[in-house]
Subunit: 227 residues, 2 copies
DNA sequence: AAACTATCTGTACGTATGTATTATTTGTCA
DNA sequence: TGACAAATAATACATACGTACAGATAGTTT
């Protein structure tokens, strides 16, 4: 198990060792996002974090615990943003549309990923790795499905006549589209320009694809629901 | 480099060693699809193929060459199906629609993945791993982008007023939705049913999501193009 | 200041990895 | 049938891996 659960003390300064712990988590987050879980060694993480090997284990336990910690570290904030956006829709007076619903789900993710914080961008790209590997599905189920289920419920209210598994499939497809937008800005640019490796300013490009993504998911779900 | 380029000889029987080579490729294909490139060792592949360690290297060269070979092995057939479906549209008399276009792109993939051949299903799931890892982008660019670019050209002809990078983004999103449908049948079923791990009959479930997928991509691109 | 404990260093262990190499077998063809 | 080459087996090698642990260090508390 990982030690050091507390984060800040009363005077606001970090608890002893907490800064180190966060450097380790940040480094691991970046590396896992770049290369995936298995291609990254604890020694690489230690070097990236400018820390000795033992420190990684001390602060983060085993490699799987470290990965799980990274996943959990930001999910709460992401889920909270999504839920508060949804609550704003629910109590906004106007009727909920599928577009406003998808915007409430997608915008927090794109906001965090494109705001300039490289760690949030890394986290966003890291999540994209989870989709392809059924090994992480238990984590996905725990961390991301609860909110997804709530949004799925809202979608069902919009299309009461549509089959539930069609809507569920369409939502999963929307999530895949969202994740791929973050993971594949390079491919999008390459396809659009014909050039091989256009310069990578991921943050800006992401923001520029936000509307396209929301439109795409909106139209996709609408059409999938219609049948 | 891998030896044994020939496949069959005049009498139709396999060239000596070719059966072994295919067992190795099949085993590696399954394992890579299940666990990803880095989580699979050459020894596991050898064991799965019921072959000694040296045989893998003899027939398939290095691990990266083996992976590349697996990717290349089926792409030609997949691309050919897509192109002939597109040609049928072009010379079919009727006007091309975005839905028929997406069906031409998606159907061959879903056909292969759901027809019951476990190796094609493995290949289909393997491709889903490529999207998240920029390390394989050069292969994606060589193997899959050429056909994707042709379809992108057709999409542009349908929406001449739409920005090209919006259409490119929408196409990449469609591909992501397609891949996730194969990779995430479990998650779809879990979200739809509320149960944790519904029984996995991936082939059938895949086929049942075909229309939803095509509808989703159709509606998504339509809406993304409209802006 | 002294005792204490969280944090960090350095190193070691056992195992697994990708690849190369050397024998041995097996099929093929002159 | 005998020679040759392709195919398979067996082993070795250097390196990297995840993890554990004993000792040193430095903040904190009494």
């Amino acid at each position: 198990m990982s030690q050091a659960e507390a984060t800040v003390r009363e005077d606001g300064r970090l608890v002893r060792g907490e800064a180190t712990r966060e450097r380790v988590l940040d480094a691991a987050e970046r590396l896992f996002a770049d290369h995936g879980y298995d291609a990254v060694s604890i020694r690489q993480i230690a070097k990236e974090a400018e820390v000795t090997l033992g420190v990684v284990g001390f602060h983060s336990g085993s490699k799987e615990e470290l990965f799980s910690t990274i996943l959990r570290r930001r999910v709460e904030l992401l889920s909270a943003r999504r839920m508060s956006a949804l609550d704003a829709l629910r109590h906004g007076g106007q009727a909920i549309t599928i577009r406003s619903l998808m915007a409430a789900y997608i915008n927090p993710y794109i906001d965090f990923a494109s705001a300039g914080d490289p760690q949030w961008l890394a986290y966003a790209r890291l999540i994209a790795h989870l989709a392809g590997d059924s090994r992480w599905y238990p984590h996905v189920k725990d961390l991301y499905d609860p909110v997804a289920l709530i949004f799925l419920g809202e979608i069902e209210r919009l299309y009461p006549e549509a089959a539930r598994d069609r809507l569920a499939a369409a939502l999963v497809m929307s999530v895949a589209a969202m994740l791929s937008t973050v993971a594949s800005t390079v491919r999008i640019a390459a396809l659009a320009s014909g050039n091989d490796f256009p310069p990578a300013d991921t943050g800006e490009r992401l923001a520029s694809h936000r509307e396209t993504l929301i439109d795409f998911c909106t139209g996709g779900i609408e059409r999938a629901a219609r049948g």
